[in-house]
């Protein structure tokens, strides 16, 4: 009896020990063990910047990069998670909505400013960024609504069929973007001029891009807005009830079809808004639809499907691993190993799947 209990404990303990050791080593490595990279050669302890003790500023900058990237991840993935958690639809066109959002905002901003291909940041005022973003979010929301009403409404519950339909739609959208938006070239939306500067962060002792801090702020704002919506309004209450038990909610006389439509519009708009932010920070280009579908999938698989907290936690973890792996992996010779950073995304995913297949905050339904 005691032997069996001990066995149980060991089985429950083992994953925690493994994860604890891995995370502990990663932290130790980043904080203390790593050394700055020499010009030639190196060993397993040499990284781009060296440890946090050696180079505190680079460490905080990487941390802020991770947080701001997590903000963008959250904007996009929360929409994906909302749609899946509530409607059980895996929207494989979510990455396409992201891309489409970025391109629509680009076109609108070009029209508004009357500029050519590149716009200097100083020439863009706040309004000329906010309006394209709103138009992009609204128009992709409508695209999402059409997709939901025409293709997904009549076959509810057929998850795979719905996933296949959204795949077909993503193939069509990808091709139509090539045909109609800026000849399918990589395109950037320009941030408002006033964000194009560095701000001093006295507590951390570094200067940091204001635009990136705004991404973090936007991520937090979206999170806060979603929280208010889901936990403080009637529609949100219906959605949460629907996540838990759809049939019961419907039996209580709630018009679920209307709520489904609203949730799909909001989810699609979030993808598009994420696309605008992504296009402002870097650029949108064909092929990124797959990348952002991957990002959304990784975030919700880590965090747990259909959970707002899970989407936040998943974004944070993925953002941290992504940003730190890119600069804190050993560099031997000329930039040898940081290119392996994608492996760590997979390791993160594998750890979660192996020890907690339903995701950190997910529940098995």
């Amino acid at each position: 009896m005691t032997a069996r209990l001990a066995h149980m404990d060991l089985r429950r303990l083992a994953p925690r020990v493994v994860v604890g050791l891995l995370v502990g080593f990663a932290l130790l490595y980043i904080l203390v063990l790593a050394n700055p990279s020499p010009d030639i050669g190196g060993n397993w302890r040499t990284t781009t910047f060296g440890s946090a003790v050696d180079d505190w500023q680079s460490f905080t900058r990487t941390l802020l990069n991770a947080l701001t990237f997590a903000g963008l991840l959250f904007i996009v993935a929360s929409g994906f998670s909302l749609i899946f958690g509530f409607m059980r639809v895996v929207n494989m066109a979510h990455g396409s909505f992201y891309l489409l959002g970025g391109y629509v905002a680009y076109e609108v901003q070009q029209k508004m400013t009357g500029a050519g291909y590149t716009i200097a940041g100083i020439e863009v005022n706040t309004w000329e960024w906010v309006l394209p973003a709103l138009i992009a979010a609204a128009s992709i929301g409508i695209v999402g609504l059409v997709v939901q009403q025409v293709f997904l409404r009549w076959n509810q519950g057929q998850e795979l069929r719905q996933a296949l339909m959204t795949i077909a739609i993503s193939v069509i959208i990808a091709d139509q973007i090539l045909a109609h938006f800026n000849e399918g070239l990589a395109s950037s939306v320009t941030w408002p001029g006033w964000t194009n500067r560095l701000v001093a962060l006295p507590l951390l002792g570094i200067q940091y891009s204001l635009a990136r801090l705004i991404i973090l702020f936007l991520g937090l704002a979206v999170g806060f807005g979603l929280w208010i919506w889901l936990y403080r309004t009637r529609t949100g209450m219906v959605i949460r009830a629907g996540v838990d038990d759809r049939q019961m909610t419907s039996a209580l006389g709630v018009n679920l079809q209307l709520t489904f439509a609203i949730a799909f519009v909001v989810g699609s708009s979030l993808a598009a808004f994420g696309g605008v932010v992504g296009a402002s920070q870097g650029a949108v280009a064909p092929g990124q639809d797959g990348q952002w579908l991957l990002n959304s999938l990784v975030v919700v698989i880590i965090g747990g499907l259909g959970s707002l907290l899970g989407a936040a936690a998943g974004s944070l973890l993925y953002g941290l691993v992504f940003s730190f792996a890119a600069v804190y992996l050993p560099t031997i010779g000329s930039n040898c190993c940081t290119q392996y950073s994608i492996v760590f995304t997979f390791v993160l995913l594998a750890l979660v799947l192996a020890f907690r297949p339903q995701g950190l905050f997910g529940r098995f339904s």
Binding site: G157, M165, I172, L293, Q339, F346
Partner: protein
């Protein structure tokens, strides 16, 4: 035996086999090399996907990645460095037979590992997890320039094992090899599903909870099935690098992954035969639609876009009309004729929510 549908299918099957065997005499070289060989190869890959879907209830989007895994392994192992050699990849210059064995076994092992990680998930979760495998694999071979880089490894088919021989000049030889492998894979799947393993696999497809309480190791069965399908995908992957001569991250990118899924769905996710039907249909459409009146129609109507739009629309229509693809249409036609349900079991794509999650 008295079933007219089964008899008709047997006649069609034998007819298709006879045509396939004498194909180099009937069709021109382009058709044999580009259409038929390619259809056989992608049919094998699609069969590995349909095997999992139809008999294990798992929709795997990792099959192209597993194909690519075998392809990249072979590419790294057989190509040689030095004068007149290749520059990309590890250029190990190993014995091609050894490389072939390592690539097949290595990919199977990778499949078992990845399958074990996903084994506790089902349904749409399985699809999402295997999709992440696929996309991570794409970025891995793209970013890790030591093993490939985005331009890929070329000239792999100059190094084939002696029993394969020269397939660069002698394309019909490659066609017959692909035909042989396709037949072997088809026969193997038909055999596997009749073994105790195959039967319990189908049992846990329908009733995972009941099978689990009967004492069957559900995750283990799923893992082994995934390993088997990885082996089949590896065969297809090796044939594909021999056919293309090269392997690049684009071969396992999202587009390629979706293409294979489209092949499997066009054929029908419920029946193995659908794999080759779907592959042939997809490749013929892909070959002849590029500059046809359909793409012209897109231009004249100002919708714009290329044949990809048409592929997407075709796929969408098929999923709407017949989620079980062409084989589903075939089954239903027989059902109409005999006035009963012609389906051979529950549709994979039309499973109600909540049943298998």
């Amino acid at each position: 035996m008295g079933d007219p549908k089964a008899a008709t299918e047997r006649i069609i099957g034998v007819g298709a086999l006879v045509i396939a065997v004498v194909a180099p005499l009937i069709f021109n070289a382009y058709w044999v090399d580009v259409i038929l060989t390619q259809a056989l190869i992608f049919g094998i890959a699609a069969a590995s996907m349909i095997f999992l879907a139809a008999y294990g209830g798992m929709i795997s989007l990792a099959q192209t990645m597993l194909m690519g895994s075998a392809g990249f392994m072979i590419g790294n192992m057989v190509t040689k460095n030095g004068a007149g050699g290749e520059t990309k990849g590890l250029t190990l210059g190993w014995n091609p037979t050894l490389a072939l064995v390592i690539a097949l076994l290595g990919t199977t092992l990778l499949g078992i590992l990845l399958g074990a990680l996903a084994a506790r998930s089902t349904g749409i979760y399985y699809l999402m997890i295997t999709l992440t495998y696929s996309v991570v694999g794409f970025y891995f071979v793209g970013q890790v320039t030591v093993v490939s880089g985005f331009s890929g490894i070329a000239n792999i088919n100059s190094y084939t094992p002696p029993f394969i021989g020269d397939i660069v000049e002698n394309r019909n030889r490659l066609y017959y090899i692909a035909l042989g492998v396709a037949l072997a894979v088809y026969a193997a799947i038909r055999f596997i599903i009749r073994t105790p393993f195959g039967l319990s696999l189908q049992g846990l497809r329908d009733e995972p909870l009941r099978m689990s309480s009967l004492g069957y190791a559900v995750p283990l069965h799923r893992t082994l099935a995934f390993g088997l399908s990885a082996f089949m995908a590896a065969l297809a992957g090796v044939l594909l690098v021999w056919w293309q001569g090269q392997v690049a991250p684009g071969d396992i990118g999202l587009q390629a992954t979706l293409d294979l899924l489209i092949i499997a769905v066009i054929g029908g996710l419920t029946r193995i035969e659908g794999a080759w039907v779907g592959a042939l249909a997809f490749i013929v459409i892909g070959n002849y639609i590029r500059d046809s009146w359909l793409t012209d129609l897109l231009d004249t109507t100002h919708i714009g876009g290329s044949f990809q739009t048409i592929i997407g629309l075709t796929f969408l229509v098929i999923v709407i009309i017949s989620p079980d693809g062409l084989m589903g249409v075939w089954d239903r036609l027989w059902g109409l004729k005999s006035g009963r349900d012609g389906g051979e079991g529950p549709s994979v794509t039309a499973v109600p929510a909540g049943e298998k999650v």
